[in-house]
Symmetry: C2
Subunit: 590 residues, 2 copies
């Protein structure tokens, strides 16, 4: 057996900021070297950030990625870090002749090993995910190699992300080809209640391959995606050896005892079990094992409980969206209700209360507690506030055009939206919208009104979970949250009956069923894709099924004009739910 | 040789309206029977409409499609049409076990042949396009069959759409397997300046297969897509025999002289040249040739000239978006400028001037000619108009919040947008936005202002083409256009200098280069994906390249909240240009 100390760089790259990502790679490699690592592994497409979508179809972007990889290899050597091998993801190209339907330039979701100033080997993802949030058949062509690099006597195989999830392909030949360790750079987004599928998967693949496995995952917010880290090391029997925390950057170091190899070098074709051939390329970097050393105890981070997990995802999403897009501050409407209270709290935890601006915009229909609850939140959190009454502006509209019913209600919501946008344009704040998933799913929201803005922190959070997260946050603090207030959310905002206050005495239950009933139905219809018959068979009220399905299908149309927001479930009524607008199919009538 | 009369049903299905599509199939089959056809061919996924996107992942939807196919077969028989074989596209399922990454329910983009009350054979598209507007790896699994049906002695092969465009697969084995005719149902969207690629492709595939080819294409608007028809019949040497018109429904009938066959029936595997095996299934419906008859002269429609083509696409897109979404009328802001003038004209041609409502919304900065030019258009076209001054509403905002510069300009645009939305909510009109592609690409547009609305007729039309189309329309009439006015667009709207009129003396050229220069640069940057070095090498001014690229990249962020509009080029700054919002890559700095 041979010892190896592996460093897992669970990092937060910025999409498109190639220079900053390269600087980070060098800094983290230096840390890994100082901690005595023999190999450091970065995440999938770390140099470019992930996902880059249409950028990958630009020749200049792919050129820059390839050039950067070679520059970084030389720079590591120049800065005295060349002896430490680095595995890192980037974008490369396959050099195929163009053909109809092939992504322009034949890009590869690639990974390379850097050593002594050189790019020693390059490989690329074989299985291209094209489901859920992934569209990779649009962007990449597939790789067909499995590099196996001897490092201090240990054969280290490299595969990328999705290749771990699918049967067949490079990971399936690791066992036959023989390796002492499989390292896998990933960019795997967070999903609520995923159980522990990643650990189960890593354990299973390690057992199949008969070797230890190092799974390194990205962390950070990227538009609607939140990457949670949760990097993992398992041994060849699938036993968990080390695990990084969630939602935070971390250099996880693990000492492994691995089999030494004398296998012949060269290239060898293998039947990959999916109709393709994978070429195994065996190289030797160093044959001699490292001097025996005393291993450090491995860190195995505990996983967060469900509320902490979701709340942390939302905070990280807002923090990164603000910072990576170059905003200094956010602005939102504070109504005194629970949705805007939770949104303000997430924002204050994400970027600190002094950078959160709230606007109280009472109308003729606002109740007393709306203003007092909002003011109480401002007092507790220390966010910046101002009051802008909207009655006179609404009157000015009503003098020019006659509006009644819903049209009149919408004008109030839109005046508020336009005030926020005006203040955003004047002062450069990012507008946060405060709509929750139950409202957005059913269309209980005003287009260009409360839905107007740049980022929607709780768009994927059902109303029942809005209350749950608010109670949880009042009971928990963490240094990850930048606001230090005790119980930041006024109890009355949590306990009072929800109302949009767009007409006298209005209550959400005038238009919607109770949220506990609605949220269960929405989960079955939207997330589980159940049809109306199945929903009724599952015990939902038939009349309610018809009504809610109709609301959801109609709301789909309005939501086309939506801002992005963090996605924490498989379908958040946003980009994963791609329905034609012009469409006469009605699930409610089947 | 054996005669056959083929009817090509170039039709306009409605996505999701299964019942209406089935009714239409029966009616058109009756017409084909009355015209003596021996085979009628409908378009790809005609029964469900195309594209159906996420609907295909709903079990209830696929169930309904399969049930409908069988119902329609029986109904044709019941109504005395069972003797006439019908080829039609629908959605089926492959019956595969679920696995990660496979579309839920394993749907097929299928086609079937109906005869004597039965579904005689079923097949499915093999090549799944996943580029441009297509996302079919997300939605379908691939077919692996080629049915060849003997009809009056002629072997008729059936393949679906993309299988014609790609090498390998079912179409590649037609020649080896032997067939007298290849029929191909399609849903192929219109694209400006596509040249005559479809005819070239049909001719090439017919020569490769050594048989005649019938290409039947969908017509109609579907959200951003416009299907233009242009169905084609070529003989085995690739010679054009018949062709349907563009943008209109048409039952095209063609008499063909085809080789008779005695080939053995059964199933036969063929190497499809793309790593897969295609199973050819040979069946006999009828061996005896039809009684000799005198063929009718074939119709070969002339193709429209470039302006007629684009203008017809826009009219059809608006007409179908309004009708298929159940709107009765549209509303738009008429400024006196050319963009809103052309948009109103397209709308009046699409649904008739009496259903077009225009709102003149003068502000303190509006020039005299704005109102007089708008009023002149109202007079010429007979659209419904009203005037709503915005000065007092803008004043009401300015009393509550201090805004300057761009923020103050935006408020004016947003007040107009909110008035349109209010009138839309009150009266049920669809709001049309009037922004052109040059503006939208560079962000010369106000979010929630002039960009607020439900459909954007000219979002993919550059400003220089806006002028060109306006002049063209003033010189041309056609029964396809529902407005009968002579020269519907006031000359002054075409010739005057463009201005947003949001501040005194404002001109577009204060912010943008001249449109002739801008549009050429945008075409090279966006459509042709040229990088900054290539743009400069192509002769664009270096300083302008940097400035325009920056505008386009920043505007990408704002456009996330866009309404759909007809797409007439490969990239219309809409869904095909998928860039991460959170992204530090700047082409302008490379």
């Amino acid at each position: 057996m041979a010892q190896l100390r592996i460093a897992l760089a669970q990092t937060n790259p910025t999409v498109g900021d190639l220079t900053a990502n390269a600087d980070r790679l060098v800094a983290w490699t230096r840390d890994a070297a100082e901690r005595g690592a023999h190999l450091v592994v970065f995440t999938e497409m770390f140099l470019t950030g992930y996902p880059v979508e249409d950028l990958v179809l630009r020749t200049s972007f792919v050129d820059a990625s390839i050039r950067l990889l070679e520059d970084v290899a030389r720079r590591l050597e120049r800065e005295g870090l060349g002896e430490l091998p680095v595995v890192v993801g980037y974008v490369d190209r396959a050099g195929l002749a163009p053909r109809t339907g092939q992504p322009k330039g034949a890009p590869l979701d690639a990974a390379a090993l850097l050593h002594k100033g050189e790019v020693v080997t390059r490989t690329a993802k074989h299985h291209l995910p094209n489901y859920g949030v992934f569209d990779e058949y649009r962007y990449f062509v597939r790789g067909d190699r499995l590099p196996v690099i001897r490092l201090h006597g240990v054969d280290v195989a490299i595969a990328v992300c999705e290749d771990l999830w699918q049967d067949g392909g490079p990971v399936s030949v690791v066992g036959q080809a023989g390796a002492g360790l499989l390292v896998v750079p990933n960019a795997s987004p967070y999903e609520k209640e995923k159980d522990d599928v990643r650990l189960e998967l890593c354990a299973r693949r390690a057992r199949e391959a008969g070797c230890a496995l190092v799974y390194v995952n990205q962390v950070g917010g990227q538009d609607e995606l939140v990457f949670d880290g949760d990097s993992i090391v398992v041994d060849g029997s699938g036993e968990l050896l080390a695990r990084a925390g969630q939602f935070k950057e971390e250099l996880l170091v693990a000492d492994l005892d691995l089999p030494a190899s004398q296998a012949e070098t060269g290239t060898f074709p293998y039947d990959a079990g999916d109709g393709t051939t994978i070429t195994v390329e065996r190289l030797v970097l160093s044959q001699d094992p490292v001097e025996p050393y005393a291993p450090e105890p491995a860190r195995v981070a505990e996983r967060l409980d469900p509320c902490a997990e979701v709340y942390s995802a939302l905070v990280l999403a807002v923090r990164d969206y603000v910072a990576k897009n170059g905003f200094e501050s956010v602005i939102l409407a504070l109504s005194g209700g629970i949705d805007s209270a939770l949104t303000a709290t997430i924002a204050a935890d994400a970027i600190g209360p002094s950078r959160v601006h709230v606007v109280l915009m009472p109308s003729r229909y606002s109740s007393d507690h709306s203003l007092t609850d909002a003011e109480e939140l401002v007092r507790r959190q220390g966010v910046r506030s101002r009051i802008v009454p909207i009655a006179e502006i609404v009157n000015a509209y009503e003098k020019e055009i006659d509006l009644s019913g819903l049209a009149a209600e919408n004008i109030q919501a839109r005046v508020r939206g336009m005030i926020l946008m005006g203040l955003s344009n004047e002062h450069g704040h990012l507008v946060l919208t405060t709509g929750n998933k139950s409202e957005l799913a059913t269309g209980y929201s005003t287009l260009y009104g409360d839905s107007a803005g740049g980022f929607a922190p709780i768009k994927d959070v059902p109303k029942t979970m809005v209350w749950e997260l608010s109670r949880w946050r009042n009971a928990h603090r963490d240094p990850f949250f930048l606001m230090e207030a005790e119980r930041p959310i006024p109890e009355n905002s949590i306990t009072k009956e929800p109302s949009a206050e767009l007409r006298p005495g209005q209550r959400d239950t005038d238009s919607l069923p109770p949220y506990e009933v609605l949220d269960r139905l929405l989960d079955d219809y939207v997330e589980k894709d159940m049809g109306s018959r199945e929903l009724i068979a599952a015990g939902h009220d038939p009349e309610l099924v018809t009504r809610v399905i109709r609301l959801v299908d109609v709301a789909e149309y309005k939501r086309r004009q939506y801002p992005p927001g963090p996605k924490i479930t498989p379908k958040n009524f946003g980009r994963d739910r791609r329905l034609p607008i012009t469409n006469r199919w009605r699930e409610s009538t089947t």
